[in-house]
Symmetry: C2
Subunit: 408 residues, 2 copies
Amino acid sequence: MATSMPRSPLAPAGFPNLPVIAGVRFATVAAGIKYQDRTDVMLAVMDPGTAVAGVFTQSSTRAAPVLDCQTKLGGATDAGAAILVNSGNANAFTGKYGQDSVAEITRILGDVTDIPVSRIFTASTGVIGEPLPHARITDRLKALSGQLDDGAIKDAAHAIMTTDTYAKGAGCQVQIAGKTVSIAGFAKGSGMIAPDMATMLVYIFTDAKIEQSALQTLLGAQADTTFNCITVDSDTSTSDSLMVCATGASGVNVTNESTFCEALHSVMLDLAHLVVRDGEGATKFVEVRVTGAVSNAEAKIHGLSIANSPLVKTAIAGEDPNWGRVVMAIGKSGAAADRDLLCIWFGDVLVADKGWISPDYREEDAAAHMQGQDLVISVDLGLGTGKATVWTCDLTHGYIDINADYRS
Amino acid sequence: MATSMPRSPLAPAGFPNLPVIAGVRFATVAAGIKYQDRTDVMLAVMDPGTAVAGVFTQSSTRAAPVLDCQTKLGGATDAGAAILVNSGNANAFTGKYGQDSVAEITRILGDVTDIPVSRIFTASTGVIGEPLPHARITDRLKALSGQLDDGAIKDAAHAIMTTDTYAKGAGCQVQIAGKTVSIAGFAKGSGMIAPDMATMLVYIFTDAKIEQSALQTLLGAQADTTFNCITVDSDTSTSDSLMVCATGASGVNVTNESTFCEALHSVMLDLAHLVVRDGEGATKFVEVRVTGAVSNAEAKIHGLSIANSPLVKTAIAGEDPNWGRVVMAIGKSGAAADRDLLCIWFGDVLVADKGWISPDYREEDAAAHMQGQDLVISVDLGLGTGKATVWTCDLTHGYIDINADYRS
């Protein structure tokens, strides 16, 4: 359980002070779905007019709540909206029963909040393949909806944790057209609870005013360079969900507004990094920068090949500047590379220079960089202008402890 | 080094008694390339008329010897042929110098053996990015070629080891047209020596008579269901090489001869399994059987997604029948799957039945299977007739030890 795991050495000092987002209120409750003595259900309720956008796991075995959410994006925004999340049970691979649980939760929540079922989004994270004891949730929905508080975002971030070792929040405020626009969000992942897989859930709220279709487009684009550029162990959850809700309460219309796009990107990137920093067993935060690829897409393929390689990740854990494994990961990626144009840096140290070890390379220089907690591996392919940056963590005994040893 | 690693718990009792292959002789020497007090160069010389086929790593950063070998397949077979392999240095990512090393070794070996350079194949396995001290090899080629012995295949298997914990050999004899045809081969992998990556080298010899082009076609097809169906950690070496040499000394022509094809397949599969059984840190040998896929190719994608998943592999290490992770690996593979048709077995225990946990499932039954050393995970997708079987091992603390801790 979350509370028994030591806090990640890469964790931030604490949960940030986040701006209150007008038009959004939160409530949490301890429903005893699996965990005892902690909150495990989170409700967010948004005012009428809120645009809701989302991106979800591509898994072909995605969970019932994900399938339900995907049908509900893009509807009319004149009514209110709600997000209900439980931890402790993923409601995944639960067949017809799982769909019934979603239907029952959204129906009863609709009754107690007067929000149409078509505007109620849910997510579940925890054990797979066990029926969700949804009555423990529905029994508490009336009480929960009576406790909504616009200042409770930190409590919300805690309630959706599984084996996360810390709650993850990020936010910012920017000035647009002389007014303040606020963004605040929270995430969970990549904790693990047997017999489960890591699930990433992210909820971001803003008082900006933006059309749903524009928000959906923006979210998709921003996800490609933030959450879709992180990896802990290359495994994809059946439940990954990322939603952004724009209440419009600031009165600031932000369609195509670059200040807003950058602010949203910054919050998303902060949350994505916080997920990596809580990667199972992680002791190093690693940024992999790829330049000179044939395209941005090919740069990302190379970056993820490096970031997902067990041999690269174990070398990082061992503080070993093992650039041969980076060469290997580039070679196997399937994207274009020319061995004799390839340059590799560990931090600022040029290791490999156009297909061979750099004549000025001294292993002690690279080894010194590897001893840090935040590392950068840079690769230039020398082929074109494509570039991408991805983030990962190392692969340690802690990962094996968490995923092999805890349950048996 | 190999000698310091404990023998894999999955190792066979010993090296098998292999048939002598008429027309092939072996010699080995301790050249001190990196290791001390052990052989590290292997020479195999084949009689004129030998057909040589090979398949090699697809890496875009493949090593100099691989690039050289690939240009030499398919030439005339009237002259003799030779294979020279060194361990301790991979001659990979060594630029022009690496190509010069290959040229120098093959030129001098041609001089001392009277075999044309176009029929001399080399491979190197060991440290990446360091220049190969090739004079240590070339200085010994004359003596080496004076010690050739048709019974020295076991010595040959030992000389190409890096951190393999045992030498790997397999062979068989079959009767075709009233005559005996023999096949014998050896392999190395998936040992590791920092700062290296696992390399798989495989050499198989037979006295069957077969055209080079037919042998090449057969080898490619057989590799797809043997060596291309194993994975230890999803990382692909810059040096992987698999060669088959047919001397024809038996006088038995085997083009399209099913007994021979099956015998070769059996030797290749035995060697492939021996590589997995020496996987770094392995404590379990795992067969993943996928049926009911849209095609054989899609079945293999699902199989490799399961076999490469760190979460599946750590669950196996923990003897945890964590079928939710198998569901996850199928979902993320990218190949077609329908959650509500999916069935999963651990051994003979039906775990998941058409999209949900089997009503008869008792976790203690599956847990009992997981405690064995040789495990079977079966998946039926219920979509079509495509099928594939792949083999892997578990992901343990031993893997982290070998790849993170040994060098630093």
